[in-house]
């Protein structure tokens, strides 16, 4: 079956610390993979998307980066977190008319 795993569910990190959020998918091959951020009371902002291994498109300039080392793995990273990186991060995959979302990671930078 098609599933998506995203972890951790919550994370509290100090300013200046590194970040690594991981997302893996099952039940599909060569999906489009996405990272979104949702700030408090705001909509879903597309951060990165990937159409294949090693192919990353960045939608907005920011303090974050993404990598896709394997077909079903998508990683969101930062070398030094900022307060403004706080938010709800969602991983998703899409193939055609199917789209699935992870449960999200609530990141609080303190």
């Amino acid at each position: 079956s098609q599933t998506i795993h995203q972890w951790p569910a919550t994370l509290v990190q100090p300013v200046g610390s590194p970040l690594s959020l991981e997302c893996t998918v099952e039940g599909t091959s060569n999906p489009n993979l996405y990272w979104y951020r949702q700030a408090a009371g705001r909509g879903l902002q597309l951060l990165f998307y990937s159409v294949g291994i090693g192919q990353i498109s960045s939608e907005v300039p920011q303090n974050l980066s993404a990598s896709r080392p394997q077909d079903r793995q998508f990683i969101l990273s930062s070398k030094k977190l900022l307060l403004s990186d706080s938010g709800f991060y969602l991983c998703a995959w899409q193939t055609g008319s199917e789209a699935f979302f992870g449960q999200g990671t609530r990141l609080t930078v303190v």
Binding site: N32, Y34, G43, L44, L46, S57, L90, A92
Partner: protein, 110 residues
């Protein structure tokens, strides 16, 4: 460039009243279209989707949406809302990438 717009940031309706949430997209062809709902602190739940065929799509929880190519719209409707429908609603568009509208927050008056 592809984009999706939800013109209404916040809508308030009375319980039992009808509802229509607007969604417009910009793309040169027919995209995949989705409506998602997000309750406070929760992830995204798919209400319905359209990719071809009948332009009136039935979804879960009594929602439906109509794809109108001439208007580039995919509006969400419900004949009679319930207090539990209060949430954030997102229209999404999938062509080259999966992009979300800004969201519409729905408040239900008793």
């Amino acid at each position: 460039a592809q984009s999706v717009t939800q013109p209404d940031i916040h809508i308030t309706v009375s319980e039992g009243a009808s509802l229509e949430l607007r969604c417009n997209y910009s793309y040169g062809a027919t995209p995949y279209l989705f409506w998602y709902v997000q309750s406070p602190g929760q992830g995204l739940q798919l209400l319905l989707k359209y990719f071809s065929g009948d332009t009136l799509v039935q979804g879960i929880k009594g929602f439906e949406a109509e794809f109108k190519r001439s208007q580039s719209s995919f509006n969400l409707r419900k004949p009679s809302v319930h207090w539990s429908d209060a949430a954030e609603y997102f229209c999404a568009f999938g062509a080259q990438k999966l992009v979300f509208g800004q969201g519409t927050r729905l408040t239900i008056n008793p």
